[in-house]
């Protein structure tokens, strides 16, 4: 059923030189859908209304952290980057991005922590801490509606390939790969829940099940636990590469942080 448009989509991608080789099962460009479109109208209503979206509380916290002086240099993010509405617009749509010093991709959380260490001489914030999620959500929210362009940098290519290989690779006691659900069965249901395409467009996002904001890595780790695999640690190169592949797979789709999911 999906094979003919998939081949066309694959051909377009190959022509664009993004990733190769491609399987016929990959989602054609025109068929890509945010997780938003799979959620119930009441969940969509929460995301649509900034005054009801609990993720906006974290964005507001992030806005004040942006101005807080921190670290041995007693500098705030705003001291270097000034108005986030200008300096941070479009940034999240390019992450994960290549860090020259590390010689590998870093995600937005890692970039924020690199700034803390390198430019504020402050300690890195813990993964999933309220502060790191709030700052990440605040920075990403500046890109709301901006089309994702992650992966344009040719230095990222080998890392995208690794992420893609991991996406295709079966793991865990249930022996399933991400692709088995998110490329091949995204129009179906796992028990009661819709299987989405696994698009990374809304992170950090508020999950009603979590009753909190969470990062893309948290989501990936729970899918790994779901197939009874050993989840990679937060910040592990494998998770960043998976994130990078997901973002490059979503090129052209708009950022919707802070999204709301069931």
């Amino acid at each position: 059923m999906k094979s003919i448009p998939a081949i066309i989509g694959a051909a377009l991608l190959v022509t664009a030189g993004i990733v190769a080789p491609l399987l016929a099962t990959e989602i054609p460009q025109g068929a890509r859908r945010s997780g938003y479109s799979f959620t119930a109208p009441e969940t969509q209503a929460i995301q649509n209304d900034d005054t009801a979206n609990p993720g906006m509380l974290s964005v507001l916290d992030g806005a004040s952290l942006w101005k807080d002086k921190a670290g041995a240099l007693s500098k705030a993010c705003a001291d270097c980057h000034h108005d986030a509405g200008v300096s941070m617009r479009g940034v999240a749509a390019r992450y994960p991005a290549f860090d020259q010093a590390l010689g590998r991709p870093v995600n937005l959380e890692q970039r924020i922590n690199l700034c803390r260490v390198r430019n504020q001489q402050a300690t890195p914030l813990a993964y999933e801490s309220h502060e790191l999620l709030a700052l990440t959500a605040f920075v990403a929210e500046q890109s709301r509606g901006v089309a994702i362009e992650t992966g344009a940098d040719p230095q990222l290519e080998p890392f995208i390939t690794k992420g893609r290989d991991l996406f295709m690779h079966r793991q865990g006691q249930l022996n399933l790969g991400c692709t088995n659900c998110h490329d091949d069965n995204w129009d179906k249901h796992l028990a009661g829940s819709a299987i989405t395409q696994g698009q990374p467009t809304g992170y950090p996002l508020y999950r009603l099940e979590w009753q909190s904001l969470g990062s893309l890595e948290r989501r990936l780790r729970s899918c790994m636990a779901g197939v009874r695999a050993q989840p990679y640690d937060y910040g592990a190169p494998e998770l960043v590469e998976l994130e990078l592949y997901l973002m490059s797979r979503a090129r052209g789709m708009p950022i919707e942080t802070p999204a709301v999911r069931p």
């Binding site: 119930a40 009441e42 969940t43 209503a45 929460i46 009801a52 609990p54 690779h169 079966r170 793991q171 865990g172 006691q173 249930l174 022996n175 399933l176 088995n180 091949d184 069965n185 179906k188 249901h189 796992l190 028990a191 009661g192 829940s193 819709a194 299987i195 999950r207 009603l208 099940e209 979590w210 729970s222 790994m224 636990a225 779901g226 197939v227 009874r228 695999a229 050993q230 989840p231 069931p262």
Partner: protein, 152 residues
């Protein structure tokens, strides 16, 4: 705060964190012989219990109804990734069902149905599950005993 009406994630996570009924723990696999597309003899040497088998099939930790639906009117959340289990016993023999549960990938190399009685050839299995089959020989026999009763 609006509450989620679909318990999506919780079910998905529950499937991974609920401990298995412990017969599957730290056991060695029974030997079995595959002939044609089936395993003719019981893994335990005795017939399973169909009532226990039904209870297992609808239990989250056995994972079946994450993907399958079937004649389970009391279940609110069933998957639709896989064929409906109604009528299974009219289509397959006990031996065919046994192999299907033990290792469906021997019948269809690209199947998404997990191999319930296999511990090799798996990658990065979580610590809680490592070295154990998803189901014990007894559990597989109970499920086989139940599935053969599903006639149309």
């Amino acid at each position: 705060m609006v509450r989620s009406t679909i318990l999506s994630g919780s079910i998905w996570i529950a499937a991974s964190t609920v401990a298995l009924p412990c017969a599957a723990a730290a056991q060695t696999l029974q030997n079995f012989v595959v002939i044609g597309d089936g395993i003719a003899t019981s893994l335990t040497g005795t017939p399973g219990d169909a009532a226990r088998g039904r209870a297992l099939v609808v239990e989250r930790s056995s994972t079946c109804i994450l993907c399958h639906n079937g004649p389970f009117p009391e279940q609110r959340f069933e998957g639709d990734l896989a064929p409906n289990l109604a009528g299974t016993g009219s289509r397959w023999s006990a031996g065919q069902l046994r192999l299907r549960l033990v290792d469906a990938s021997r019948l269809n190399a690209s199947t998404i149905m997990p191999s319930y009685y296999r511990v090799d050839g798996l990658d990065r299995v979580g610590a809680a599950w490592r070295g154990k089959p998803i189901l014990s020989a007894e559990q597989i026999e109970d499920i086989v005993a139940y599935l053969v009763t599903l006639r149309e």
